[in-house]
Symmetry: C2
Subunit: 204 residues, 2 copies
DNA sequence: GGGATTAAGTTACTTTGAGTAAGTAAGTCT
DNA sequence: AGACTTACTTACTCAAAGTAACTTAATCCC
């Protein structure tokens, strides 16, 4: 049959890709969400309706897959956080909302989050760093701009960004592994720490 | 030859173990420090002077190995931090010293740190949580005791502990992956954040 | 003192999953 | 029509986790 749509094996020259990179990543997300972070490349290929070499062609290696998924998740979180954290307007309440959105987004993408923060065997936790960079960079910029705005030394920005991203990641993991406690409560507590510091507000 | 020391294969009944659990873990640390976090169980067995099944017998599985090494590292860090973080005596300077000791300890055990925070493929980042627990628990106790002492609400202790441990871990990874910047500087910046909060000290 | 027993190992396997090489069908170009 | 190209597949290799089954030396007991 010359039906152009139903061809399967052995493919054309000027033909379009059946599954492009995005579709592979979509499939990876779906199967990770469903089966957990322990999925194999084969599982992902099957979910995408292709075979393993296609996944390697589109994505690269396993760790590149993790990186790509991490980028997507980080972007999703940045987007979800929206403008809760814009320069001049920052406040403890805004920070709490930002953190809450982060927690909720993580809980909505729990397995994916565990997958990308789980690291990639070989390069271990350096993968986790790479994951975080996508979050650290915007955070660095936000802090720097904001400190500039208040004439405070912006040199601390990158260190602070790493610390804050690390705190949020760990709280997210810890929280999702726990029996239910409202995200808002946790977010407020973390915001309290990050805004007022360990000694707490001057008077209370 | 009845030389009791030189026996190798096939071993006795009432005899002592040639390598106990501790020796296996020691060997694992050595080979990880030398070869990086990508070592196999076989590599560890060889370093310990035995074969793979012995490692499994003494330690359990690969993830149990990671857990055990994590406990050791966490204990080492708690010990190294010593009494920098004792209840009543806490201050921004004490906190900075505590953080600096943490950073230095991590850099002295870099590959091991990457190994244990790298997670264990299967259970991914939940392993990282388990790693952290050993650090979170003492931190929780310290914070709770300290807040009690100042009549502040101690309910935030566990959340804060998770946040702080996460911040320290991420800063440590980020810092060790960087070109040289003195640990003391980084520690002071993190202490500044955790003590004074994002807006900074009242006057400055 | 000489078997049965048992502890402490080893060798040799199975299994799983990452990554790749080589083949094959459907189209395009001339 | 035949040469070429592209988009895939099948079928492998290789490494590493985990396990089963065997081997040897000491001890126990009579």
């Amino acid at each position: 049959m010359g039906v152009t749509g139903a061809r399967r094996p052995g493919r054309p020259a000027g033909g379009q890709l059946v599954v492009d990179r995005e579709r592979v990543l979509d499939a990876a997300e779906r199967v990770i969400a469903r089966e957990g972070a322990g999925v194999s490349i084969d599982d992902i290929a099957i979910e995408a309706g292709v075979t393993k070499p296609i996944v390697y062609d589109r994505v690269g290696s396993r760790s590149e897959l993790a990186d790509a998924l991490a980028e997507r998740l980080a972007d999703r979180m940045v987007k979800a956080a929206g403008d809760t954290l814009m320069e001049g307007s920052i406040s403890e309440e805004a920070l709490a909302r930002f953190i809450e959105v982060n927690l909720v987004t993580v809980s909505q993408n729990r397995e994916l989050f565990l997958y990308v923060t789980g690291g990639s065997t070989e390069q271990t936790a350096l993968g986790r760093l790479k994951v975080a960079e996508r979050s650290i960079d915007p955070m660095t910029l936000a802090i720097r701009a904001w400190r500039d705005h208040f004439a405070a030394d912006p040199k601390v920005a990158d260190t602070w960004a790493a610390a804050i991203v690390g705190a949020l990641q760990m709280v997210a993991i810890w929280w999702t592994a726990q029996s239910e406690r409202p995200a808002r409560e946790i977010a407020r507590q973390v915001a309290d720490l990050l805004w007022n510091g360990l000694p707490g507000r001057p008077e209370r």
